[in-house]
Subunit: 284 residues, 2 copies
């Protein structure tokens, strides 16, 4: 496995790889890797000739400076995990390498980029599109792997790929959970023991709401989830949106569309740590 | 030679080409091809395994709706010229194919994108970056060919390529002139016989100004060019800027930088037709 910090170096390497007709998989990450990332990397290794894992905490997608400052970083442990998963290359550039000048491009894909996370984290998806479009130019992947935990992010990246006609397949990989159901997230490492103990309530409530939904309306199910989670001291729902799984538009009833997903963001603890999760009520 | 109108078709074709390790040259054009374009295409054919010529009148780079409406179009003649030059593929998409939705990306590369054409054609270079960045995603060229007639455009495209780390070489090809010195331009076909007769004054004056400059200041040379061209009934200088050939910043004296170019835009005739040209006073 080789580690590249400079764009020109990995571009030269991958140009050779590509000339040899090899298929390139890209797993874009912000580091602080966990089993969720490992599952993405292993899938890419299985499906491609060459796998590149990028590790870059992208400042332009953080709307909160403290969140950026506190975001966990551990390139050494990340390198071991990536190596163990069988990837070929790590691309770990500096911020100056990626953004020697500010990125002035503005990406807008309403409604998928403007609802939920788009509404609560202004500029977040714009930053995601800025970095992902750059990584696609730099690594020219055949397939790029994204985790379903960031449900809305996949919809936004797909909208961008379609909009810009980038010749890359976006592969969605299932969310990976801890034994108690908590969705794996790099931010989980920032939870105190007490906070970690209450965080599984989020997924437990989402699972319970599937049964509840069977004889309740969308609005009643929404309120059930929010009230149950908020009743735990230390948890505070930012939003819970029950939406069409593709357009991410709110659904009025369970019959509005064939694909219904509930997306939630919860603040946990005193710092607080922002956790996201989702549940599928109806699948396509 | 094959003609593609759909993005997915040319992407599939070029993905195969690329898998076979072949080198791809791209010549982006707006059609209405002349010998200047032919020289770009022939250079690409000589230097690459496969040459793609795109023919697309990009609406987002026109700040003037009438200019867009009147811009000459002739895909049949263009096809013959491209075929005669030995190119392999024409990519001629519709506007809806390229922009099913508005492009919200904003590209800013001051000073090269903000002076001269950037100042006089608001949004022009933003549109150029929108289409060129898309063409690069669509055709994944190793080398892209641009004519030096659009001097500033090359600087802007290079700034974008550097900014977005696109792995493509930008190849600049010399301006091609008619026998009487007029820079070849698709817009020349819009000139009346009378207008065509006076248009060569632009280049003749620029050439004469090289001698004039030897014992006059930058400002005096500027005024000499503007006054001489404006003295011709039917010609009106929009701007004449004597600038550093790389940064495109105005130079105060001939010794300010080692590379000095004079860039001019002239309105010709009654419609009027906007013609651009340039002259090198000092080369690197």
């Amino acid at each position: 496995m080789e580690v590249f910090h400079k764009i020109v170096d990995i571009q030269n390497e991958l140009a050779e790889v590509r000339k040899n007709g090899k298929k390139i998989g890209l797993v874009p990450t912000m580091g602080a890797l966990h089993d969720g990332h490992a599952s993405l990397i292993k899938t890419s290794v299985a499906e491609n000739d060459v796998t590149v894992v990028s590790v870059f905490v992208n400042p332009t997608q953080f709307n909160d400076k403290n969140d950026l400052k506190n975001y966990p970083r551990n390139l050494e442990a990340d390198g071991r995990l990536i190596n163990n998963c069988g990837a070929d290359y790590i691309f770990a550039p500096s911020v100056d390498e990626i953004y020697p000048e500010p990125d002035t491009r503005h990406f807008e894909y309403p409604p998928v980029s403007t609802v939920m996370e788009g509404a609560h984290r202004p500029g977040h998806f714009n930053g995601v599109c800025q970095i992902v479009s750059r990584l696609f130019y730099i690594t020219t992947p055949d397939v790029a792997y994204f985790g379903e935990k960031d449900w809305q992010q996949i919809a936004v990246v797909k909208a961008m790929v379609k909009d810009l006609n980038i010749n890359v397949k976006i592969s969605e990989c299932p969310i990976i959970r801890d034994k108690d159901g908590l969705a794996l997230s790099s931010r989980n490492s920032l939870l105190s023991t007490d906070e970690r103990a209450i965080a599984p309530t989020i997924y437990k409530t989402l699972v319970a709401s599937i049964d509840f939904a069977k004889n309740h309306t969308v609005q009643e199910t929404h309120d059930y989830v929010v009230e149950n989670i908020n009743s735990v001291n230390g948890l505070k729902v930012e939003y819970f949106s029950i939406v069409d799984g593709l357009t991410l538009q709110d659904v009025a009833t369970w019959d509005t569309t064939p694909y219904v997903v509930g997306c939630i963001t919860v603040y946990c603890g005193k710092k607080p740590i922002r956790l996201i999760d989702h549940i599928k009520y109806k699948e396509q």
